[in-house]
Subunit: 278 residues, 2 copies
């Protein structure tokens, strides 16, 4: 496998975004640049096998990439995870899922970051953009205040949902609904008659908002976060572990086998589980 | 005060609903009847002072009632709480808030029940209908499965949100958003041209749905629930306590002084805090 992958030089990487629309690519590159500028020196290079960094199905109609960069020992960041999946649909259209998420170590209780853009047709897409909490907000109102109220995260959601093209997106998974923060952006952007094009909304509205939320995450979470007591570390580690395993089960664990077949999916999921449980 | 209240005989009670529309009154009486039939014999009579069971402002433009029935020692129900507030608005219209909620003891982890109907104009109202969880659903996926997935609670939300008159209601309070379950019904029902009247929707859609959810609560929570270990009891007690004190702070703690003045509000809130912290 290594020999085959090395022959594919230069190999398609996560940051190439060959199938994303121009505004989605620019949005993602903005975020990757912010991460690189602010915390790049405390993240190790990706050490996943080449056939996990880039993978495709036997007929070449489905392709995916995975990027994992772990934090150095002194970093509060456990790892960042970039992923995209591209799949030609029988209709001639394509499914593109692009995401970037960050995962903290249990030595801080600071929230994670996630952006996911799911485009299944040229006229409609779903966006998930959030700093998912790592503690029970009901039991910890001061955590809610620090990371969500004082940072005014809900303002961005309110602005976006005022656009006529934007409607709340309710994910079928009750677990995912419970996982996100109360200021999470979960929206569907659909093109109507005489309304703005989806690409304009991504460029003019979603891109600045995702940059703002990434800035909040970098300012309040990535650059140290809040240290926690030893007792709490065990709770955080347990909660993180449940979250990660449920997320794989609900998300890629279901979609990858369907899109790539059992063999490719098994290889990618094994690498992912290795990262999540390292 | 006691003398004055005793003179107002018969005193207006929670279950009189003198200001509610007919379908709201019927919906609430259905729920009260179900509670009475199934667990009435394990609930004590209301022992609140008469001037808290019924209260009004000095000019008589605002009235409210409070009903608290505590569970007997062997009951898993801590207490049920009924409340309505009626307030004439300067516009000539009226604000009516009607609610029924239940609170469990920490010897079980079973969810609570809440319904709240907020009508601020004849053409629009807000409904909150839920079994708020008493544990962190992210850390306890099996709890989510037992009380929310296996009971198919989300089906009711989906049915209601298919109606053209119904839109998701997003409460300004991030804490309340975190408090409710992922299958919570939080909707605004607004009358449009040529669409069904609000009263028809309450009668034909909301009333059967609220009866169904109350039935789930009575079947899975009120009639025993799940017993918990001693360690967990302390966690549940702590979480319940935070929830109750934040709920008062956000909800009645803010609205009662505005609607009834400091003196009346102080008396009612003191009784409420006494119930919540007993």
């Amino acid at each position: 496998t290594v020999a085959k992958s090395q022959m594919m030089d230069p190999q398609t990487k996560f940051t190439d975004f060959p199938h994303a629309s121009a505004p989605v690519k620019e949005l993602m590159l903005d975020l990757m640049n912010s991460v690189e500028t602010r915390i790049g020196s405390s993240l190790l290079p990706c050490s996943l096998p080449p056939d996990v960094q880039f993978y495709e199905n036997s007929t070449g109609t489905a392709q995916g990439t995975l990027l994992v960069r772990s934090g150095i020992p002194s970093s509060p960041v456990d790892f960042i995870l970039g992923s995209w999946v591209h799949c030609k649909l029988p209709s001639g259209e394509a499914l593109n899922i692009t995401s970037l998420s960050t995962y903290m170590k249990p030595l801080t209780d600071a929230p994670n970051f996630i952006v996911e853009i799911i485009q299944g047709s040229p006229t409609s897409l779903v966006v998930i953009l959030d700093m998912p909490p790592r503690k029970d907000l009901v039991l910890h109102p001061e955590y809610l205040k620090t990371f969500y109220e004082d940072t005014q995260l809900d303002m961005h959601r309110q602005l976006l949902e005022k656009l006529p093209e934007v409607t709340p997106y309710i994910t079928p998974s009750l677990y995912i609904r419970a996982l996100v923060s109360p200021s999470a952006i979960l929206v569907r952007i659909a093109e109507g008659d005489k309304t703005a094009k989806i690409e304009e909304i991504i460029q003019d509205q979603l891109r600045p908002i995702s940059n703002e939320i990434m800035k909040v995450w970098l300012d309040t979470c990535a650059s140290g976060g809040r240290p926690v007591e030893k007792d709490e570390m065990a709770c955080l580690a347990k909660r993180d572990q449940v979250t990660r395993s449920k997320s794989i089960e609900i998300d890629l664990g279901t979609s990858l086998p369907r899109l790539f077949g059992e063999e490719v999916a098994g290889r990618v999921l094994q690498a992912l589980e290795g990262t999540f449980n390292a």
